[in-house]
Amino acid sequence: MAEISMREAYGRALAEYGASNPDIVVLDPDTSSSTLSTYFAKRFPDRFFNVGIAEPCMVDVAVGLALGGKVPFANAFAALLAFRAMEQVRTCVCYGRTNVKLIAGYAGISDYKDGPTHHSITDVATMRALPEMTVIVAADSSEAARWVPLVAEYDGPVYLRLSRAGALSAHNEDFALRVGKGLTLRQGGDVALVATGTMVGRSLAAAEMLAAEGVAARVVEIHTVKPLDADLVVQAAEETGALVTAEEHTIIGGLGGAVAEALAQRRPAPVERVGIADTFTRTGPDPETIMDAFGLGVNDIVAAAHRAIARKSAV
């Protein structure tokens, strides 16, 4: 059975969770048919607020609902939520520490059809820099659904990053999902592939290719980019001596930045960052084509692993 998209999984999960938690309220700036918050809207029309094309207003209304004791899920395209509404997020959500859940759909390059205006490749960097913010990136559809109750019941601001599309499955068995706790999905001692979001599945595929070459690659999923599970990353550095980070995001300031910061302080090791170079992207026929064209291919991860391993001797 083909896996459903992340937004489909999220939308269904939100509507389902809304039945068990009456404090959940949902906002959307005229994108509910895209983010699929529409499932919640149809089921709980009194708890759904469409504010029109006004992402900053949506965030502020969500702030007010949170002050009033509700748990607002504010949905929008990541490109608008993280940038047009950034001041609201900084001042009223983070500095005011209101219990607002920002659900950033269509993140990365997943809105392939609309192109760079709607690609969101710097949002993790900016959100991660905000005090009080928790930044979570879902790796696949099953994970996107499982984050809904966890995010709702987590106390404080959360930025949950979702893809419009599906992703290579990152999990084929039950797994323990906890905010701030990374997951070692595959053991290996030669190199660690530390990935987030849609790049987790691709990193698992890269590990398979590396295994065929005789290279034992560990795969670590960091879903919570902030607060970073630094212990798990340091452990990977100590046990493999070389790391690759992989994210559907610019190489500046995202997961690669977070991992490099942690290792620079605690356990320096070679780090190769797989991500979008410091450039805007382009429109493409599908997400995979754009990802492959902008350095996010499985072969890019494999090549980065070889570079990281080669640098071990230089340390």
């Binding site: 609902l65 009033g68 607002p72 001042t91 500095y95």
Partner: protein, 285 residues
């Protein structure tokens, strides 16, 4: 004719006078703050904090309290003066305003200061946040009202009108906005920097109930707040025509007093002008 007795009116006028004095004392002591927009809002704040708002200073998080958001957060001096006078924290705290260890931040911070409903200081947020609070009241079947004090220059920010559309769409009759229309902003007169007129027509066009008053006339402030609460059709904006720097002759209508502290001689003159209760018998001349 209003049912408010003259004794109540004169008492609130005295409160307003004290709020002006306390605000200027704070700004002078700290040599920082925003005098102009604090002085213009004195009668509004007096009417709200000493008559209209249902508050419980001993229990700032009392669930049934009315919610007041000072969207024009730069006028924090008069908010702090009102909260202290109302008993939310000791008046001695006001002397520490701006000190690193003091809970009183340059702009209001809901996490640090009891009675501050929402962090503010960057202009424009109050109406949209207030709309969210009003929606929460509806969902929770809570009886509290939401009051938002905004500035006029603030109305140049697009987010104000995004919030205005939202409050109107959801018919938030439990929400009252008071617009401190002193026509002066940092760089000069509002009508020159970015004209707002026809301002009442704008709010009408956004489907708000609109009341225009003399914002220095306590009786008019009280009556307009009553009218707003009695209207069940949607949100109300009270356009309060005020004078920036009201009560201190050399500050009145002067943009240079938007965010500058007086020196010792100026402070002494201001206190002298505010000394007599009759000095600010606004709206009754």
């Amino acid at each position: 004719m209003s049912h408010y007795p003259e004794s109540l009116i004169s008492g609130l006028e005295e409160r307003a006078r004290q709020l002006r004095i306390t605000s200027l004392e704070m700004i002078f002591r700290r040599q920082a703050g925003h005098p102009g927009g604090s002085l213009s809002a004195a009668e509004i704040m007096a009417a709200l904090f000493f008559h209209r708002l249902r508050l419980n200073p001993a229990l700032p998080s009392w669930p049934e309290r009315d919610r007041f958001i000072q969207s024009k957060g730069h006028a924090s001096a008069i908010l702090y003066a009102a909260l202290a006078a109302r008993g939310f924290f000791p008046t001695e705290d006001l002397a520490g305003w701006g000190n690193l260890e003091c809970h009183l931040q340059g702009h209001p911070d809901r996490l640090k200061t009891p009675g501050v409903e929402m962090t503010s200081g960057i202009l424009g947020h109050g109406i949209a946040i207030g709309a969210g609070l009003a929606l929460a009241a509806r969902l929770n079947q809570a009886a509290y009202r939401v009051y938002v004090l905004i500035g006029d220059g603030e109305c140049q920010a697009g987010i104000v009108w995004e919030g205005a559309m939202t409050a109107a769409k959801f018919r938030l009759a439990n929400m009252t906005v008071i617009l401190d229309y002193n026509d002066v902003q940092l760089d000069g007169p509002v009508h020159e920097i970015m004209p707002l007129e026809p301002l009442a027509a704008k709010w009408h066009a956004f489907n708000w109930n609109v009341i225009e008053i003399d914002g220095h006339n306590i009786r008019q402030v009280l009556e307009s707040l009553d009218l707003a609460a009695e209207n069940h059709g949607g949100p109300t904006v009270i356009i309060a025509h005020t004078t920036k720097g009201k009560g201190v002759s050399f500050m009145e209508n002067k943009s240079q007093w938007h965010g500058v502290a007086p020196d010792a001689a100026q402070f002494a003159q201001a206190l002298a002008e505010l000394a007599a209760p009759s000095a600010v018998a606004g709206g009754r001349v």
